[in-house]
Structures are given as C-alpha cells and as structure tokens.
Symmetry: C2
C-alpha cells in the first residue's frame, strides 16, 4: 500500500558523500559500522582528496561510480548538501540520507532549501531521509547509514525491536536502553526534518519486517497520521505492539520542537485520542519506550488486571498496594485455600493475604519464596506477579530466589516482574531471565502498561462503512442559524428541542399555545452566534402575552444591532439535572474531532471534556464519558435517576457521522447545552460554523 523503503532498509550499495578515514567523524562512522556489522553490499566512499577510505576504493564524485547506488549518505554540509541531493537525483540514487543540518529547522531560507531538495527528489522518484538526521541503521542487513556514537558505546545485537525516531539522539538513547535490558535491536532509524520520509512511513516499512516484534516510535509531530493509522491496523493484525513518545506536550515543548526539527504543533489531546484509537501506547520519554520492552517481547498480553505482590518487606507490600492503585490495577483476591497453604509456610507474624509479606524471616529461611510461590502461582485470580526485594545481599540465597521466581514465569506463562534497586541482586535475577526494575512504581507501572495496552488492543474497532455525504443550505454567512442547525441535527436522528421559528408576534403567540408553558424565546440570526451575551434569550416565559413581549423586545434589539434577522425562536423549556455538550471540529491533520463533556455556559473555563476521533462507536463514547470529572453525576446521585448515557453516546456518534458527511464544508458544530432530561438527552441550542 505504501513504500516499503527497501533501498534504505536493504540497499545493495551505499555511497557516502563526504567519506572520512576517521571513524569518529560523521563521514567515517557509517563506513566503519557497515564494515564492522557485516554489510554484504557494496560501499562507495566519495572523497575527491583520497584514493582509499577505511580500506575501500574512494571515488571523486557520484558520477564516477560504476553504478547508481541504492542509497547515498550525504555527510557534506550546507549548500554542498543541497547540491549533493541534486546530484543524487540526477545519478538515479534511490534513497538519499541527508545528515546535514541547517534546513527546515532554521527559518525561511532553510525551509526554501529543504523544499528544493524535496522537489528535486520527487521529480526523480528518489526518497529522502532527513535532512538534519543522524541517519538510519538496519542491524539485520548491516546497512548502517548513520553516525550514532551509541553504536560504539553499546555494541549492536540483531533482534526483535524496531526503533524509529525523528530525533537521532532519542533513537540512539532508546537503542542503548533497550540493548541495556539485554534485548536485540534490528532497526534504528532517524527521520530528522522529514522533508520526505516520515516516522509514519518508516513505521509502515519496518512493521513489514516480520522479525520485528515491538515497534518503538519517537515523534515531535505526527506527520502522515493516515499512514501511521494504517500501520497500527496492520500491526494489530500481526500482534506487533507499538509504543510511542510524542514530545512537545507543553506549549514550551512545542516551541522547542519547532526549532529542533521544524515540527508543526499538534494539539496534545488530539494526539492522545489518535494514539488511543489506534491502539498505540503513549509514554513520556525513551526510558518509557524501553521499560516494558521485555514484557512485550516475551509475549505478555495479560488477560486481566489482578496483581499478586510478594515481598520480604511489609513496607514494600504497603507501597506495592499503593502503586497497584496508582497504575489502575487491582490486588488479586486469592482463594481461601491458597491463603491457607501460604499461611502454613510462613511464620505466624507474616501476612498470607495478598500483598504477601514473608517478612525478614527470609534471612533465616531462604526457602520461604519457594515455599509460597507455587501455591500463589496456581491461583486463577493471579494475572500478574510482582516481587519486591528491597533488602538483600550477604546472608541471603539470592540464586535460589531467582530460580524460584523464574519457575513461576515458566509454569504460568504469566508476567513476573521483580523490583530490586541493588544491582548485584537484580543481576542474578536477570541472569535467570527475570525482568527487573528499580522500584515498585516502575515495575507495577510496566504491568499496568502491559495490561491496559493488551485490553486496548482487544477492544473491537468501530467501522462506519460509507457515510453518505450531505450538504448545507446555501451559504449566506459564516454560521448556520440556530433553527436551521437544529433542523439539520433532527434530520440526522438527533433529538432536538421542540421549537418554532416565528416571523410575527402572532406566530409567537400561536407557538406558545402549541408548545405549552413555560417556553424559551430567543432571537435567531446567523450573524449573532452567541445570543445570551446580547440579552437575546428569555427563559421561563409563562404566557402568550409574555412571549409576544419577548418577541418584540428581541426583534427591536436585533434591529438596533443592525444584524440580519432570521426570526425569533419559541422553544419548549427543557429541564434536567445536568447540562452536557457535544462539540465537533475538523483538525487540520487528524480530521473530525468530536468532544463530549460537561455543558452549560462555563464550558470553556471548566474544560471537562473528552475527545474522540472518527470513526467511533457508542461504547467509545461511554468510555470517554467515564473519564469526565462530572461522571459521578451521570450515574445519578442523591436519589436522581442515572442519565441516559446510551442515548447521549448515540447522539455523539451521529454528530461524528454528520461531520464526515459534511466533509470540508463544515468547520465546527456545537451542541450546548444538551439537556439531560428524565426522558433522555435533548439538544437545546446548537451552532454550526461553515468552513
């Protein structure tokens, strides 16, 4: 469907433009790495001042090569780099990796040069990685088109992890951290300024390397969200988890990102919603990328959220229980038989209930873990195991503990993680294949990530199929007026307030009689989107006379404002315990975004809302509603009935589908308030802004 970038990932030949004999220079490192890591293709150093570079024949220019290389690394700087891109395009290079900085990240002139690069490449059918990149590395093929120092500091080992990063530094750091956990890494690719190839596109390509079992991403903006979405769908099908950092969460961070890789800002909550929708787990930093890697690679996909804690410290049991709650997990309730069996093995003052405190008695009896764990392992209530040894060393049989733990993992296939901050203790466990962490927050955080991510990936994906397009009435202003907006919503099966658009006082009087007391009278003008600020809403009108009076007042007010008069609305006055809102807008990168939340006039100040990207289903809305601060009220408190969330969710889905149906013609739709009446949600006011 998209480019698999084979000329970058598995090139047959690599030219290095600006090749150096010094392996600590940027132009020297890639050649050194390819030589060291067994690259089987041809290496063409290009350096007009030398005959040979690191033992390879050197060429004065790209033109002098015997063939067009699959990949060319452009190590020269500034305008020479730009020229080199042109040369590569002319020579038929398939992928150019542009290491040089000073383009899109540094102002208008830089951006112009970067565009020139992209255009030259496109015209020639050449792909560009970079500029401003540390390069790419495939340890499966030995094709290393990058200069990261980390490949010297932490020797490579081919393995199941793929890392793709806008930032070379963060890619290298994730590589080092994952390798530090004893795991092999195949791919480490940095996309830099993304003049052409983005993290999303590279992720698509790497996801198709079937040896890759875990995909780690670092982004400063999400370019090509459609390709990333397609990658996530494909990855889910083949059980390839994706974990991602999207840095620039804060305003200051986004500004820094702009001067780092020239990234555009993404609204962070939309990014969250996008990752959630596509089953991508978001973490904060490269440490977060590496922490759970072993668990993913071991195939841990916990079926539940129940943790068993065992420790030789009661305090660790206390803090472990706290951490379990922090991580949104629960303590497993062991069977009475399990507790009885555990109890028999422990001294009288120890706790046989989960969290299980075997106490400092471990110092005198090294068999305690081994006595207890087999019983716990058999209990079906245990989804995951956390063992904390905050104090060990001299006098403890750590080797024996490690074997005891490793066998729980072996026998149950369930996650077993250890926290021990003492490196000499942790090392023994690691040597038996146990995943180790510094403290309970980390270890239990990893269990939480694995459990919640697995649950997220088990959620059924909503598909809407084809949504038939629909169109707005002919435009006469930026807004659709309220009555038309309500009618449009009603035509899509959304329950709106009963109302009549009146043009004369007589119609208003009639409308009152038809509607029944009390009513709301409000002016309708597509030029006045925010009526109440102008005193154009009269609530609780209790007679036809009052309705007529309000009609006349509001007509006069509109006239005095000199704005278009589309009529005066007489509407039933809906009452409910709670006002909610549903909003929708079009994000320039991610498309339609639907917002559900607490409604009313303080909606902007309170910001109590959740975001959904289309397509989504009712169950997605229900889950989003549960995250609101106002959620406890939706369940019904103080004897009030629970709100009809199913109907509210249905309404949100219909709004999302309307956004899709209207396509580029609409900018935003706001349903606020949606009154939660005893008979269900009713849209009381609505506003549509055209694109």
């Amino acid at each position: 469907m998209f480019d698999l970038l084979q000329s970058a990932l598995s090139p047959k030949s690599v030219a290095v433009i600006g090749a150096s004999d010094n392996i600590h220079k940027i132009g020297g490192r890639p050649i050194h790495y390819m030589k060291r890591d067994g690259f089987q293709g041809t290496i063409y150093p290009i350096n007009p001042t030398r005959d040979e570079v690191q033992g390879f024949k050197s060429y004065p220019s790209l033109a002098a090569l015997p063939e067009a290389p699959d990949m060319a690394l452009i190590v020269v700087a500034g305008d020479s780099a730009l020229q080199a891109v042109h040369d590569c395009a002319a020579r038929g290079v398939k992928t150019a990796v542009v290491i040089a900085s000073g383009f899109g990240e540094v102002g208008e002139e830089g951006r112009r040069k970067q565009r020139e690069m992209t255009e030259a490449a496109r015209a020639a059918g050449m792909r560009i990685i970079g500029p401003n990149t540390q390069g790419i590395a495939n340890f499966g093929t030995g094709a290393i088109g990058g200069f990261s120092t980390m490949f010297i500091e932490v020797p490579p080992m081919d393995g199941p992890v793929g890392i793709i990063s806008q930032s070379g530094g963060m890619g290298s750091m994730a590589y080092g951290l994952v390798r530090g956990r004893g795991l092999g890494v195949r791919h480490v690719h940095a996309t830099g300024n993304e003049a052409d190839v983005t993290v999303s596109e590279m992720a698509w390509a790497v996801a198709h390397d079937l040896d890759v079992k875990l995909l780690l991403l670092y982004m400063e903006n999400v370019a090509h969200p459609d390709i990333l979405a397609a990658t996530a769908r494909y990855a889910r099908e083949r059980d390839l988890p994706i974990v991602a950092v999207k840095a620039g969460r804060s305003t200051a961070g986004q500004q820094a990102a702009a001067s780092h890789t020239g990234s555009l800002a993404n609204e962070d909550r939309v990014v969250d919603a996008f990752f959630r929708q596509h089953g991508i787990w978001r973490v904060r930093d490269p440490h977060g990328l590496a922490l759970a890697a072993e668990g993913y690679i071991k195939g841990w996909r916990p079926k539940g959220d129940r943790v068993v804690i065992v420790s030789n410290s009661g305090a660790s049991c206390v803090m472990g229980a706290d951490a379990v709650e922090d991580a949104g997990l629960t303590l497993a309730q062991l069977k009475p038989e399990t507790e009885a069996a555990v109890s028999k093995s422990l001294p009288g003052f120890a706790s046989a209930r989960n969290p299980i405190d075997i106490t400092a008695a471990l110092l005198s009896n090294s068999g305690l873990f081994g006595d207890v764990l087999p019983f716990v392992a058999k209990d079906p209530a245990a989804d995951m195991f956390f063992i904390h040894i905050p104090v060990s060393g001299a006098g403890y049989d750590v080797e024996r503990f490690a074997n005891d733990f490793a066998s729980v993992e072996k026998e149950t296939g369930k996650p077993v993680v250890l926290a021990s901050w003492q490196e000499n203790v942790a090392a023994v466990f690691r040597s038996k294949g146990v995943a180790t962490y510094d403290n309970e927050a980390q270890a239990i955080g990893v269990l939480g990530q694995l459990a919640h991510h697995a649950a997220l990936l088990r959620e059924p994906r909503t598909q809407w199929g084809e949504v038939a397009p629909c169109s707005l009435p002919p435009a006469t202003g930026s807004y659709l007026h309220e009555s038309d907006t309500l009618s449009l919503l009603a035509s899509r099966g959304i329950r709106t307030v009963k109302h009549v658009l009146c043009q004369t006082p007589g119609q208003a009087s009639q409308a009152f009689d038809q509607m029944g007391s009390p009513v709301v009278v409000k002016a309708c003008s597509m030029e006045v989107p925010h009526k109440s600020e102008h005193g154009l809403v009269a609530l609780n009108i209790q007679s036809a006379d009052e309705a007529v009076k309000a009609f006349e007042q509001q007509s006069a007010k509109l006239k005095s404002m000199g704005v278009r008069q589309d009529g005066i609305i007489v509407a039933a006055m809906e009452r409910g315990n709670l006002e909610m809102m549903i909003g929708a807008r079009r994000d320039p990168q991610f498309g339609p975004v639907v917002v559900v939340g607490a409604g009313g006039k303080y909606v902007e100040a309170m910001k109590d809302c959740a975001l959904l990207l289309t397509p989504f289903g009712k169950e997605d809305v229900m889950r989003a509603l549960k995250t609101l601060r106002v959620a406890p009220l939706l369940d019904g408190v103080r004897g009030e009935p629970a709100a009809d969330l199913d109907a509210l969710a249905d309404m949100a889905v219909r709004v999302g589908q309307l956004m899709v149906a209207l396509g580029e013609t609409v900018s935003s739709i706001d349903l606020n308030p949606v009154m939660m009446t005893p008979s269900g949600p009713v849209v009381v006011d609505a506003l549509l802004e055209r694109a």
Copy 2:
C-alpha cells in the same frame, strides 16, 4: 521539650539479649557492626550457653551484668521477648530495642502483649523501640542496635543525613540509596510497631543532632503529629529540610499497613495538608527520599523557579521543556545579550534560545558547552540549570564537559543537575561533584522539589494566638438547628442569609413583607438535618400568601414525619453565579480540618475541595482555592465579576477559629451553599453536628 533519647542514640553500654557468634544471625549482626564501626561504649552479649561472643565476654542473664546497660537489644522471640522487656524494666535499662515480631501487627493477643510491654516500660521509666523493628543505628557513635544487611552491602560513612523509618526495610533502602549517591549517613532508625517511641519522637531527637542537615522519614501512619509539628518548627528554624514518605495512600495500602506494623489509617488528604502546613515535603517512596538529597546537602534553596536547559540533543530540549511544565517550573527568559553571546558560539542551525540546543556539533567541537555556559551562568534570569547529554561516549571529551558544568555550579552557587543515562558518562560528572540523574523527568523533578520546597519553607507561618473558647446552646439532639447555626456563625462575624425563624403563619407573612420578594421558606428541625430530601425547602416564593401556604405545608409535613418542630425559616433568596462550601470537622489525630470547595447539592459526588489544618491564614485559603477545579470560575468568566475570594477566605478562617473555640463539643460544621453574590459570599444554609 521532648525526650532526646540519648540512651538510644549515644548509649554508654549496650546489652544484646540473644547474642550470637554468627554475624549473619540477627543476634550476631549488631555486635559485629558495633565492633566494626568503632562503638566506644561497653558491649554485653547475653547468652547463657556461651562464655564469649565475637570476642566479648558473654553473660548468662541481664541480672548477671555488672551494671544496668543504657540500651538493651532484645533479639529473642515471642514470649521470651516479652519476658526480656520485663527483665530490662526491672534491671533499670534505659532503652529496650525489641526486634521480635508477632505483637501489635498480628491480632488481639499480640496487641495485648504489646500493651503489656509498654505498660511495664512506662512503669519503670524505660523507653521501648519496636517491637517488630530492624533496630537503630548511629554511625556517629557506632551504637548500632540493628541487624540490617544493608550495612554490609553498602559500607557506612558518617555524614549529614538522618533516616527514621517505621519500616526497617525502607530505612535500609533509603540508607543504601543515599549512600549510593556518595553521601554520608549518620542515623538509620526503625521504629517498627511503635509501642512507645514513634517516628515523630525519634525525628525530634535526631533533629537535635546539629550535624544532621537532612531528615528523611518513612511512615505508615503519623503517630504523635504534635511532636512531628514541633520538630518541623524547630527544623525550619535551623534550616533542616524534612522529606517524608507516608505509605498507605490507598485503601489497599492502608489495609496492608495494618498487617505490617499495626498502623491505624490516616485520611490521606489530611496527611497531605499536615505535611504542607509544616513544610515537610512528601514523596512517594525511598527513591524519592534519596533523589534530591545532594541538592539539600549542598544547601540549594532556589530563590525562583526559572530553569535553563542546555543539551546536545534538540529532542532533549523539547522533552526538557515538557518536564519543566510538568514540574510546575518555568523556562528562564534569557536576556537578548545572553542569547546573542550564545548564538555567536554555536553553529547557525543550533538554538541559542532557552532551551539551548548545541546540537550534535558537540561531536566535532568539544568546547561548545564551555563556550556557552559562562554566558548563561551570568544571566540573572537563571535560577537553576539542567544539562542533558542523552548521547555521549567515544569521540566526546566528557571530562571537559564535566569541568565546564562544575564551574557553573562553583561560580553561581545555583543548582546544576545533569541527566545522562550512560553510567560511564555520569560517573565522570559525579567525580567532579555534579549531581546526576537518569533522565529529565527525574532531574527536573528534583529541581521542582527543591524550588517548591524552598518556597514552601519561606511562606510565613500563620499563628492564631489564643482562641477564646465558646460554647453551644444546651444540647437537645445531635444537631444544632439551622437558625441557631446561622446565628452562631453570624456571632463570629460570618455573613449569613437574612432570615426569620417563624412559629406562626402570621409571622411568616410578616417576615415576607420584611424581607422582600422573593424569599425561601424552609422547615427548621434539629431532627431533620437534610431538608431538601424531604421536600422541606420552597424556593422563589413571591408573595406573602405563598409564604403562608409554604409555612403550612411544611408544618404539616414535619408533623406527619413525627419530628421535632423548631419553626419555619423565611429567608431572603440570595442569587449568585457560583455556590461554594466551607466545611469543618475534627480529625481524631490531626484536630480541626477545614474544607473549602465547590458547593451545592453535588458536593459529595464532585469532591472538588481542598483541606486546611488549623491554624491557617487567608493567604493559605486563597492558595487552596486556586487548586480547585472550579478555580477558573472564581476568577470571573464570560463577563461575570470575579468572586470576592478575600471575603471567602476570611470566612474559612473564622470557621476554623470557631472549630477551635468549640473544641471537643463539635463534630462538624457545614456551610453549604455559600452563595457567591455580587456583594460577596453569603452563607445560605448551615448545619452543625455536635460531638
């Protein structure tokens, strides 16, 4: 003021009841440690089966000793331990450290034995540490009455840190982690079940060791909050920061704590308020205790919250900016001169604005940090410095970087922290005295802790002086009725709704005329604290006739309920944009707690409130109000005026003082709603529950 526990911290003689020759047995370790760590007093092993233990003359019993030892360690188990406590009391021992478990933490019989221990000690004027403790250790005197394995794993070095922990494991872990950061530790004391000496009391004693410059506490409940408060006051005077873990934050954690050290549950938000009030910084775990230790010891007390970030990775700049925001800090705005000077030293594509990205060009020019840092260091906008080197190693002059950073710290006296996850890189920096961390979240989190803690300790402490006691009307039920409660509040200078308590329909009619339309009519009965649930509140009454009708309906309703009738209240109907609440109750351990928050009928469900402990001032309330979710509305939105927070804060202070004045006679007071009217807050409804 309190016991300085000198017989425990600096004993002249120590008996070990249950002494062992095996240094890996609990009865062997303390003797080994005292010998190794230069204890200058006398050691008396007590073991009837041996003549000598670890080279010391052994005695058959306590009675056989030539003198009453200052301190006795009771290492024997169960009932023998209990007997040993009696023996110690009889022999005139000053402090008994009871290592044995199986007392207060394991049910009624254990609690009985623990009480027996305490009573025996009290009767003899002896102090007890424990039972169920790992013991105590003073590396200043070499008096080690504990068996922690950690004192073998990580050799002691006397120094400025004092650690006091209910849990021996957590004390040991904090010790190991602090020592691992290269700092010396003098005190490591575990209080276990706290049959007598608590963490609070031990903290008082250790705070009086003037060589101690940082006090680290681990607690599972806060016993003796008064002593801890006094300790915190004293510590603040002598610039001794206190950092504490209070574990058992969650319900599950509190249950685990009960079976660990028999701890009672503290309400966690009250614990937060207590720590805040006393300038104690709360962290999550022993890692949290250790992380900022170097900063405290170096005397870092940042005057502001502005951070400068410098990195060789643009991505680290982005994530650093995010982390600064996460930590509640700000990015320093450097002077244009500084930026210009920095800019001159950097390649054109690097960013001279904070965060400063010196880029991977560092690989070719090792002087970049040294070129840039002196300019930045001079800028007065910089309160703290964070340097991140996510990638370094071969080809980089790390030694030079470390010297460059160390000189910034030396010249400015301001905090300089480094993040580098590469141990070989970090080690070079540590060797120059630079504080190093794994990642930006940790390093910037530490800066945030230091800055916020310093600011907290600079806040003036509120003193109320003597609050004159006041008394309630004679009790005739559990509640004071609404009218009496409002009158009581009014008598304390709290603005309450205008109202009349009516006994006849005629009075109600009169009250309406007096009050002016509209009014609220509500039944008043001390037996019906929650009126609206029984339909006993009529809002928006617009005529005297309606008022009379409401009076009659409510009287009849009270009669039909068969409850006491204290009258019917006719009250002015206050209108405002926002309903707040002020509540107060008496916490069994911490005394009066005042709660301010969003009011109205959903107050329990929404839980949007902040806690304050007495005494507190208006500025404390203002700060608490800023933490509410409803805070943006208090500032005034959509053209509404800002709420009179000063008056609301004043009201909260008065409620707190009333709680103190009423003392033990009151259980709770609830002012809900406090209507935020244009002319200020007015208490519209109030309820007082007697103790």
